[in-house]
Every structure is written in structure tokens, then in C-alpha cells.
């Protein structure tokens, strides 16, 4: 199984190098390598300053944003699918996306800048999941806490989506409303280096902890009572895993907006490749999610004259791909 992870890592590296060259301003691969190497080694420039600006100023942050966001959404999707023992679950199941959308919409309505939008999106994403957690934990005392948590998440998600619509309804239709609408479509086009510095600590931290929980997640797949009888403090562990998954998703949504289906599809793809053992599945999901989103983002900016928002492309490409996966897998939905 180790070699599959190494191959996935290698694939990602190749994709990264290729992605620097893709776009309306094509850059040959050797120039890309030279420009990157010149940041560390003293190499005399044989390229134009414009080329360097495109590679380092525009494509570099975008590529790393795609990697971070893809890895974040996929690993939290994989963790939730294990934790909730349900392959239909996606990272937004506890309401984080709906909460982040409301935060961003409010920030745009109030005329905040980029930093304000990202901060509010992140905070409201956490708040929404916090509300779900409280409801799930209070009502879940009797009965199946996992099921109650998922149902609470669906309700909170619906509620926050209604609030988003309310914000859109009162927003200025010529100025604020389009901004909100475009933010909700999801895109990496405006990500810059400072955004990456903000988003990467929570994402990398959550990613690391979730991967360390791999074996524990395997046991939690057997349900609350069995995991307890095997010696796990399931309540605390569920909290820790939900917290980490929410942290990475909220940070990803804050810089990229709503990017659908990645967190649902990639874990399935990874499970087909490496099996259900979360010790391998979680790192594989992160690597594949990074590659997947990088690939789709390249398509989003290279396919047509006008760039299509990434969230639209992932959904349009993802839906048929997911149906194909379903027809291939013999037992996804027990």
C-alpha cells in the first residue's frame, strides 16, 4: 500500500509542474523549472519579467490553493464517511458550507474586504457545525447519536441556506448580489499568497491530526456501541474528528467558496484504489483530492475563452464521473 501513496505523491508533483504552464499565457515546462529553481539557486534570467510574474505571482498561489482545498475537502469527506458510516456523506453534511456561505454573504453585504469575507466565512462555518453538534449531542443522548447528528446537520444546513437567500434578497442587485453569487460558485482565481498563509495552518493541522486518527476511525466505522465496547471514548473522539474536519473544510471554503462534489467523489475513488483502511485511505484521499482539484482548476481556466468558476466545473464533471463510479463499485451502499 505504501507504493500507491508514493505514486500518488509523484503524480501530484508532476501535475504541479505541468499546471504552471497551463492557461491563456502558456509557459514551457523548462522555463517553469528554471524560474522556480532561480528562487533558490543563482540562475540568470533568460525569461521575461511578465513570465515570472505569471508563474510566481498568479499561478503559484493558485496551484497551492487548489492543492490545499482539494486535500482538505477530500480528507474531511473521507473522515465523515467513516465516522457516520455512510458513503453518501460529504464535508458539508454538518452545515459547514452553509454556515461559511452565510458568513461570506454577510461580509459582502456589509462591504468588507477579502480578509473580512474569509474570516467571517471561516467563523460562521465553525458556528454552524457548533450548532449542529449541540443539537446532536443534546437530542442524541437517547437513541443513535450519529444519526441524530447527521439529521441535525441537514436541518442547520437548510436553515443557514435560507439565511443566505435572505441576505441575497436584501442585497443590492447591481453590485452586492452578483458578488455574493460569484463567491458562492467557488473559484480559485483571486487567491493570493497572503490567503495561503491564512488558510494553510488550520488545513495542515487538521490534515495531520485526521491522518493520525486513521486506525481509530476504522474502529468507529463499527458504530457507537461497538467502538465503546472495544474501549474507545466515542463521544470525545467524535468531537475531535468533527472539529478537525470542520477546521479544514471551513478554511478551504473561506478561500475558495463552495466547491461541490470533490469531498464526496474523491473518497470513493480512493477507497476503490486502496480499500477502506483509513490509515491509508485518508492520506490517499488528501493526495488524490489535491491532484483532482488541480486538474479540474487547469481545465476551468484553459478550456474556454472565459474562465468558468471552479465550483461549476467540479459539479458538471463530477456528477457523471460519480455515476460511473457507482456503476463500477459492487458494494458502496449497504
Amino acid at each position: 500500500m505504501k507504493w500507491i501513496l508514493w505514486s500518488l505523491g509523484l503524480l501530484l508533483c508532476v501535475l504541479i509542474l505541468l499546471s504552471f504552464g497551463v492557461g491563456r499565457y502558456p509557459v514551457p515546462a523548462d522555463t517553469v523549472v528554471s524560474i522556480l529553481a532561480a528562487q533558490i539557486f543563482p540562475i540568470s534570467a533568460h525569461w521575461t519579467p511578465e513570465t515570472e510574474a505569471v508563474v510566481l505571482g498568479i499561478r503559484l498561489p493558485r496551484i497551492f490553493a487548489a492543492i490545499l482545498v482539494g486535500a482538505a475537502l477530500s480528507i474531511s469527506g473521507a473522515s465523515y464517511q467513516g465516522l457516520f458510516r455512510n458513503p453518501m456523506v460529504s464535508p458539508g453534511i454538518l452545515g459547514v458550507s452553509a454556515g461559511a456561505s452565510l458568513g461570506a454573504a454577510l461580509a459582502i453585504l456589509l462591504g468588507y474586504g477579502m480578509l473580512g469575507i474569509q474570516t467571517l466565512a471561516f467563523v460562521w462555518g465553525l458556528l454552524a457545525v457548533g450548532a449542529t453538534w449541540l443539537i446532536g449531542n443534546t437530542l442524541g443522548k437517547r437513541g443513535d447519536p450519529v444519526l441524530i447528528m447527521v439529521l441535525a446537520g441537514i436541518i442547520i444546513g437548510t436553515l443557514f441556506t435560507a439565511f443566505v437567500s435572505l441576505v441575497k434578497f436584501v442585497a443590492d442587485p447591481y453590485n452586492t448580489l452578483p458578488t455574493i453569487t460569484f463567491w458562492l460558485m467557488g473559484s480559485l482565481a483571486s487567491v493570493d499568497i497572503p490567503d495561503l498563509w491564512l488558510a494553510s495552518p488550520p488545513i495542515l493541522l487538521g490534515l495531520g491530526i485526521l491522518i493520525a486518527f486513521g486506525w481509530t476511525l476504522n474502529v468507529l466505522c463499527f458504530g457507537d456501541e461497538e467502538a465503546k465496547a472495544l474501549g474507545l471514548e466515542t463521544g470525545r473522539l467524535r468531537f475531535a474528528i468533527i472539529f478537525c474536519a470542520t477546521l479544514v473544510t471551513a478554511a478551504a471554503v473561506a478561500i475558495a467558496g463552495i466547491i461541490g462534489l470533490v469531498g464526496l467523489i474523491v473518497p470513493h475513488l480512493a477507497r476503490m484504489l486502496v480499500g477502506p483502511d483509513h490509515r491509508v485511505l485518508l492520506p490517499a484521499s488528501a493526495l488524490m483530492g489535491a491532484s483532482f482539484l488541480l486538474l479540474v482548476d487547469n481545465l476551468a481556466r484553459a478550456l474556454f475563452e472565459v474562465e468558468i468558476p471552479l465550483g461549476i466545473v467540479t459539479s458538471i464533471l463530477g456528477a457523471p464521473f460519480f455515476l460511473y463510479l457507482l456503476s463500477r463499485s459492487r458494494k458502496g451502499w449497504n
Binding site: 476504522n218 466505522c221 458494494k331
Partner: protein
């Protein structure tokens, strides 16, 4: 080893069992018998600490388990649930290794000694050949054996089994029960299991706890507890109990439907 003192248990407002006291020693096999809905599962969940006890005490090795952590508890008590299908196709050897969780930290995975213990548990139950198979693709009887192996990998002093023979065909029922008795005798583990078959209790049990419909119970040796009278009273069917001699000369009691 396990001592239950005046235990009452139930859900919400409803008390299901009242004032149950029992003792179970290592190597003993206690069968828990009773019609559907009298509280066998409730008693199990309370014993396992999954439901809080209404009143009374549960002592393990002389110490009350009320404030034990899940981990401390699982190092001593293994639970074998009814066989089920989990949503993901784990390998059998991984499922058995999950029994080691109580001996590991939350961030660590089983290491070589743990895997050896898991391997040994598979061997005890004679299913080493299933190690690499997918848990979702083996038969119901095999799955039940895997769950028993997982509980053995916990290296418990006490095993609690929830209807280990339900949904199994005749051959698998006998195999599972033979393994259960063997575990009690050879590994000196105390076993508490629920069953719907009075014959299982008569054939394999060293003690029987029979719950009846009115919060009451009887506890004692199988021959004392499982009488025609008890069965007729509790299940409202006519039953005859006969003593037969086996080919090896030992006598056994069996119950059969009466007319």
C-alpha cells in the same frame, strides 16, 4: 470475578429489570434466557456500561465499574455483538486487530505484538484461512467467529455475547457453541451469553439466568432452572424435558416440543 448486586436497569422512565444479583467466575458459561422484550439486551447494555444502571452495583474483580474508563473496562470485558455487515469491506485480520484498541493509544495503530495476538485469536477459532478475506464477503457463521476472535484479541477476563447463534444455520450454531465452550474451559474466561434455545443452556451452560415477564428471574444450574414448568409458564407452550444418554455414556437433558 463478575459480581452484580441488586442491579435495576431500564430506559428512560421504564424499569425493565429489578434487583438482579448474580456471580460469574472464570471458566463458567452463563446462559441468559428469556422471551423477546423482557430486557436481555437492556441487562447486557447495563453490564457493558452502555446504559447507566438505575441502582445497584456491578463489580469486576471486586471493584465497582461505574467510574472506569471505557479503556480500562474493555481491557477486561470483551463484547461480541450479533453478526452484522459494516458499511466498508475491511479485511478480516484488520477487524480482529481492532480488538487491540483498548491496549493502544488513540493515535497509534496495532504493532507486531498486537498482530500476533490477533493471529492467535484467528487460530483459536480455526479461521486463519480467512485472514485476508473481506469481512463483508464471508458467511454469517464466519463473521460471528471473526467477532469472537476480535473479542479474544482484547484478552478479556469476561466475554459478553449477544445471541451468538442467531441467524446461523444448524452446523454453524453447533460450531460456534463448541468454540464458546472451548474458550471458557481452555482460556478460563467467564462467558455470559444470550440465547433463545433452552437446549443450548442445557447442553453448554454451567449456570442459567432465566428472565420472566414480570421483572422476575431465576438463577441456578441449567437442570434446576430449565424445567417444563418454567418453559410452559414463560413461553406459554407445551414442552417436555427428557434425560437421554449419549453414546459416550454421559447423560444429557434436552427439551422437545410437547403435545
Amino acid at each position: 470475578m463478575l459480581e452484580v448486586q441488586h442491579l435495576s436497569c431500564g430506559y428512560g422512565q421504564r424499569t425493565v429489570l429489578q434487583d438482579v444479583s448474580l456471580q460469574l467466575h472464570s471458566g463458567e458459561l452463563m446462559c441468559l434466557l428469556g422471551p423477546n422484550g423482557v430486557g436481555k439486551t437492556t441487562l447486557f447494555k447495563t453490564l457493558l456500561g452502555l446504559l447507566p444502571a438505575r441502582s445497584g452495583n456491578i463489580l469486576l474483580e471486586g471493584k465497582a465499574t461505574r467510574h472506569w474508563s471505557r479503556k480500562e473496562f474493555a481491557q477486561r470485558v470483551g463484547y461480541v455483538p450479533q453478526a452484522h455487515t459494516p458499511p466498508f469491506p475491511f479485511q478480516v485480520q484488520d477487524v480482529v486487530a481492532m480488538g487491540r484498541v483498548a491496549h493502544l493509544g488513540v493515535f497509534s495503530a496495532p504493532k507486531t505484538p498486537d498482530l500476533l495476538i490477533a493471529e492467535q485469536a484467528l487460530e483459536t477459532l480455526g479461521i486463519t484461512h480467512l485472514a485476508k478475506a473481506s469481512y463483508t464477503e464471508i458467511s454469517g457463521g464466519e463473521r460471528q467467529l471473526v467477532l469472537i476472535a476480535r473479542a479474544l484479541a482484547q484478552q478479556p477476563k469476561l466475554l459478553v455475547m449477544d445471541e451468538p447463534t442467531s441467524n446461523l444455520d444448524y452446523g454453524n450454531q453447533l460450531k460456534v457453541m463448541a468454540h464458546v465452550r472451548q474458550i471458557a474451559e481452555e482460556q478460563n474466561i467467564g462467558i455470559l451469553l444470550t440465547t433463545h434455545y433452552p437446549n443450548h443452556a442445557l447442553l453448554y451452560g454451567t449456570q442459567v439466568l432465566a428472565l420472566d415477564r414480570n421483572l422476575g428471574y431465576r438463577l441456578g444450574s441449567p437442570a434446576d432452572v430449565i424445567t417444563e414448568d418454567y418453559l410452559q409458564h414463560t413461553y406459554q407452550v407445551a414442552v417436555e424435558i427428557h434425560e437421554i444418554s449419549r453414546r459416550d455414556g454421559h447423560a444429557t437433558r434436552l427439551c422437545i416440543p410437547g403435545y
